[in-house]
Amino acid sequence: MSEETGGNAIDPNTMSIIVTKGSLDWAYPPFILSTTAAAMGLDVTMFFTFYGLPLLLKKMDLKVTPLGNAAMKMPMMGGHMVMPNIVAAIPGVDAMASKMMKNLIKKNGVASIEELRDLAVEADVRMIGCQMTMDLFDYQKDEMIDGIEVGGAATYIEVATKSHINLFI
């Protein structure tokens, strides 16, 4: 079951995820995978860096933008609508698109990111905030949820060398 790497056996039930994106849509894959992996008995570590870091803030205000996102086709009037960039750039359109997305999420019984994050915390998913990103974008640890750690690239690499599955999202 185990793999040998430099003499160290890697537990197959381990996973790490580098979380680099913090928009309403991109926040889903890391939290869905981390909570599900934890439910399936894996030890999970999430490393939040750059635009993923705000997902650790106590108060999240997640938004989605159709700007430059050709693949974002929202169900509308029985079809699917892609918003032209020139429309997507108008002030207020992001807020509207975010509201639409949140309505779809609710309507389809999809968990909110807040809910998934709570479940991840409850399942003892280890969460590490990137120190450099905190310095760069001026975030303080007391703005973040309790129980997180702060670390850098070496902290993540140490985790990765011991994880069977390593994802970058």
């Binding site: 869905i32 909570t35 599900t36 439910a39 399936m40 008995g41 389809n108 019984g109 999809v110 968990a111 479940l119």
Partner: protein, 74 residues
């Protein structure tokens, strides 16, 4: 009759799995958990969940858009 029943109808991926995992904590070893769900993805997911966690998927069925899973905790 299952030892515990979880109604996960109306919930989408991954909530039925996450709630089932939680519900299994209240089931003793050898006991059973019945899950009701409407997410069609749950069919493949509960099979994968059981294969990975070692719990036994005793049976699963569908009636009128509601999927029923019976899991025995091992």
């Amino acid at each position: 009759m299952a030892d515990k029943v979880l109604d996960a109808k109306g919930l989408n991926c991954p909530l039925p799995i996450l709630k089932a995992k939680k519900a299994l904590k209240d089931v003793t070893e050898g006991g059973t958990l019945e899950i009701l769900a409407t997410d069609p993805g749950a069919v493949a997911d509960f099979q994968a969940f059981c294969r990975t966690t070692g719990n036994e998927l005793v049976e699963h069925s569908e009636e009128g858009g509601v999927y029923k899973f019976l899991i025995r905790k091992t």
